[in-house]
Symmetry: C2
Subunit: 318 residues, 2 copies
Amino acid sequence: MKSEHDWLRGLGPIIGPPSPFLRVGIGDDAAVLDPPTEPLVATVDACVEGVHFTRAIASLEDIGYRSFMAAVSDLAAMAALPLATLSALTLPPGFSEQDLDQLVTGQRLAAFAARVPLVGGNLSQGSSLSVTTTALGRAAHPTLRSGTVPGHRLWLAGPVGLAAAGLRALLRGIVGEEGALLRCILAWRRPCALLDQGASVGARVTSMIDVSDGLAQDAMHLALASHVHLIFQAEAVVNIAGTTLLDAAALLGEDPYELAFAGGEDYALLATSSEDLRPQGFTEVGRVVSGPPGITVLRDGLPWQPPPGFDHGHDREG
Amino acid sequence: MKSEHDWLRGLGPIIGPPSPFLRVGIGDDAAVLDPPTEPLVATVDACVEGVHFTRAIASLEDIGYRSFMAAVSDLAAMAALPLATLSALTLPPGFSEQDLDQLVTGQRLAAFAARVPLVGGNLSQGSSLSVTTTALGRAAHPTLRSGTVPGHRLWLAGPVGLAAAGLRALLRGIVGEEGALLRCILAWRRPCALLDQGASVGARVTSMIDVSDGLAQDAMHLALASHVHLIFQAEAVVNIAGTTLLDAAALLGEDPYELAFAGGEDYALLATSSEDLRPQGFTEVGRVVSGPPGITVLRDGLPWQPPPGFDHGHDREG
């Protein structure tokens, strides 16, 4: 393997699409960007082998892709447009230059899909593979987890449950011969952060969070931050993913409601606003009421307890 | 151990000194800062157990402190003033809440020393301990590794070689009864990024880099980026650390010149400018000439080949 310095120099100043804001990219002590005119949003997210993924079910390209999208999804949750990303890679013994190329190819594909480049990074040896991604963005009206009040509506953008179904299929060795399962596997391997939907909510939305750890768990974070109680209509949630989720659940012998509420890594967006200000691209899935901070899921009109969300061994904060 | 979510909530929105730029700190999907009025500088740096440190010679407080300073030193190298930092921690099995408190205490102490807060982060499980720090800053005139031309002078701020002497003392089980070795051990355990010196160079400096991997190795990076040859006066370099380096080297039976040129992790700054524009706080250590990109060290007036720098298993880029 050629030296990491040589390898990095070969990448050029940027991985992904060009940026009008970039002054200095990969290869110096730090990247330099034009100052944004709107508040700066910054977040960091780690994907660790054996915790967030195993190479048995994800290619290195998948790992690069997913880790990138997980980080920029936090920008979407803040109603931020992405400016740039940085990546710190820890590479285990035996990780070849070809392996590194595959990992970075996944990052590059995600960077093009998210329309934001990777402009700096760090390579380190380590005992296991990890990808830590910093995402920087700008938001005229950053949306927090706090801010909603009783009387507001709950909105969801993007399906939930598909990635969890795909993960379960992969863990059972199903590689996707069947239509619905194939779509679910792709939802897990190539998730898409909802940057456009997030950035377009403007000031109409009173709180927002991305669904990374499972809808029930992430909704609880929003309820705690806003000191409200959230009531979900389970059917409205499950309907967003439509027949794909129902078919995949049937093929797996799983409950589609459990997949939708406990399954993570779809990177949907959960938002709140007053009833007359539905954000574009969002579907109504419930309402905000007063009461102890928490959530109630109504299934067939009756309270239903979803199972605990996936524990990804981490908690994404800031 | 209480849940990571609860633990993070207990930290409050910020670790370290307050920031007039902070709008949203730890606890939401991302941090939010006022947009800087000057170009935005961003860098990420990882410290991995077994590669950059072992717990046999560094306390968890040291590890938190050193990892923080290593990251903000890259801001100093860009002549940037720090705005905020983010931290992604990977915690191995058995890492207790008390361990985490000690690690974060080190980060907090470094944040106060560098006068920049930690405003967001991520906790993850993993097979070994690692601390990945993102540092954000602003620079009216970012200084790159490229930019110097033949005829310019070489300037160094801060001593080099002390941290390497301290590390060797620690590896030999010396804990610092003796004055010079104790100062070297502290230089390794509690390095100080030269943020004030870096930010004060203004537009007078034509290139700059921080010395993290050893002066010879980092000078080579600058020489390659600027397509110049650098000639060092070895005595001028060694004299900056003065008798502390000479005494420590004598006690260790090491060559002080080798410690100064090959030893890393002092976080000194190497800069260039025309002769009449010496940056404040910097000492002249050589000159820039034409010739093949590389460095020549003159010791007693004769070319001398320093040993290779420390291999920290990584290359800090961007």
